[in-house]
């Protein structure tokens, strides 16, 4: 008859623990990164859409020599939106890159599994 200590020895607690930690971390990181990436894209689109979009806005926002109104609130607001759009895009690209790394790691694990 199998006793409790023997039973405990049969269960690969180490592997179970590793898989649990791996699943929690990978799941949270990949899903979290993808979600942040989508939020970044959403913010990017919102900023571009609300700002009237395109390079015209950037040109309009750029201070020119002898500009009598360097601190024009409308220009400053447009500049803020452009900065936010750029920042959001950077965040999105970074987060999606993490997801791509996750996929690459998955493919690597697939090709290097324990038989």
């Amino acid at each position: 008859m199998t006793t409790t200590p023997q039973l405990a020895a049969l269960i690969a607690w180490g592997s179970i623990g590793l898989v649990l930690v791996f699943a929690l971390i990978t799941g949270a990181v990949v899903v979290g990164a993808f979600s942040f990436g989508l939020v970044g894209l959403d913010r990017y689109q919102k900023a571009r859409g609300n700002g009237g979009g395109g390079s015209t806005t950037v040109e309009a926002a750029a201070p020119t020599a002898g500009d009598p109104r360097p601190s024009d609130p409308a220009n400053a607001q447009t500049q803020d939106r452009e900065s936010l759009a750029f920042l959001s895009l950077i965040v999105a690209v970074f987060c999606f890159a993490i997801c791509v790394l996750g996929i690459a790691a998955g493919l690597w694990a697939m090709l290097n599994k324990v038989s």
Binding site: T2, L7, L10, I11, A12, S15, I16, L18, V19, L20, F22, A23, L24, T26, G27, A28, V30, V31, G32, F34, S35, F36, G37, L38, V39, L41, D42, R43, Q45, K46, C99, I103, G106, L107, A109, M110, L111, N112, K113, V114, S115
Partner: protein
């Protein structure tokens, strides 16, 4: 043609049939949530999954040459016992498909071979410690791990995207679902395709058709890959409907989270040498995604599913044992042929029963009133 060779040909045919039911049964694992959230049209989803299963079979050849290694005394396994085990596994796969219940094909084949081994070599032929450590513990642990990780992932995703445009997010997650579901399909091909390759290779070695240390013949790889891919493409729509619509209400965010976590658990477990069932992992993830979202689960369906998991090995063992007994009673090649014909008739009856209330690509996404009511009554749904 010698008697042994004819038995091998019949065994190969049944092994490929098992591979077909494996793909057919497990299409849901990868694609149920993508189909439910309409990230992909049903036919396109099973087409992609079938193609990736096919490719997956060629990606890694770390084949387990003995499917039941550590579970039965392999010295007592004969070609006839493997044949009977396959009959047990196919019967169980078809029965659970008829009932729309996701269950493990790997456990089914293990159960079938255990039953055949008991008839061939007595109760001592089974290594009960191996069943506990290699089958039962992973069967309990893997859905819990996947469920916990999926619940956390869905909760996190909901928190991060709370102030974003829902339609934009849903579109983004649907694209993500295509990638994550594809990864599960690929992983399924590398894991499950190899099991049948192992069975056929083992039979060829036992019969002396190939050398003991020979690799898997190319024709075995190609036929197994084609068989699992075809099964996947045909699509076990009944199981897809259960995982996609009957367990819980699924949004694209839940689907993406569940599939990503499933990939992580399946690939992580394979890497760390912990054998898990793809079916149980994906089912656990889907359940966890429902709980993490606060939608809740249909516990009646969960109960049916858990019961199916619990009885997979014993019932497949009974089928496998019965097939072995019949083949032994008649004896030799006639025994194998008669048992095979009776099994084929049983498979036909199950298929006929399924056609009385068919679930197809056309009605797989029909509304499920009880699940919709569950989603409507959930505070955060």
């Amino acid at each position: 043609m010698s008697e042994g060779l004819i038995i091998i040909v019949i065994l190969v045919a049944f092994a490929l049939a098992f591979d077909f039911t494996n793909g057919f049964h497990d299409t849901a694992n990868a694609m149920a949530t993508s189909i439910a959230t309409k990230a992909l049209p049903p036919r396109v989803a099973v087409g992609i999954s079938g193609a990736l299963n096919f490719i997956g079979c060629f990606l890694s050849l770390a084949v387990a040459t003995t499917i039941a290694k550590g579970i039965v005394n392999t010295g007592q396994i004969t070609v006839e016992a493997v044949f009977a085990g396959l009959i047990g596994a196919i019967t169980w796969n078809l029965l659970t498909w008829l009932l729309g219940l996701p269950s493990s094909s790997s456990h089914a084949i293990i159960g079938g071979i255990v039953g055949a081994a008991i008839i061939t070599g007595g109760w001592s032929a089974v290594k009960y410690d191996g069943i506990l450590s290699k089958v039962l513990v992973p069967a309990v642990a893997s859905p819990i791990i996947a469920g916990a990780a999926a619940a956390l992932a869905v909760f996190l995703a909901g928190y991060i995207t709370a102030r974003s445009r829902p339609e934009f997010m849903a579109r983004g997650y649907r694209i993500g679902q295509i990638v994550s579901a594809s990864l599960v399909s690929l992983a399924h091909g590398t894991n499950d395709g190899q099991k049948t390759m192992g069975i056929i290779t083992l039979a060829l070695i036992v019969n002396g058709n190939i050398a003991a240390k020979a690799g898997v013949p190319l024709w075995v790889i190609v036929t197994c890959a084609a068989s699992i891919a075809l099964g996947t493409y045909i699509g076990g729509w009944r199981v897809i409907r259960t995982l996609g619509h009957r367990l819980t209400s699924i949004t694209s965010q839940q689907g993406f989270s569940a599939e990503s976590v499933s990939s992580a658990v399946i690939l992580g477990a394979a890497h760390f040498g912990f054998a898990v069932s793809t079916t149980q992992v994906t089912s656990g993830s889907v359940m966890g995604s429902g709980l993490g979202k606060g939608v809740g689960l249909r516990w009646g369906v969960v109960g049916q599913m858990c019961l199916a998991w619990l009885i997979t090995i014993p019932v497949a063992a009974v089928f496998g044992g019965a097939a072995t007994e019949l083949a032994k009673a008649i004896g030799g090649l006639p025994g194998v042929i008669v048992t095979g014909l009776i099994a084929a008739a049983v498979f036909g009856v199950i298929y006929w029963a399924a056609q009385r209330q068919p679930v197809t690509a056309n009605n797989v996404n029909d509304p499920e009133p009880q699940t919709e009511a569950l989603a409507a009554s959930a505070p955060t749904a």
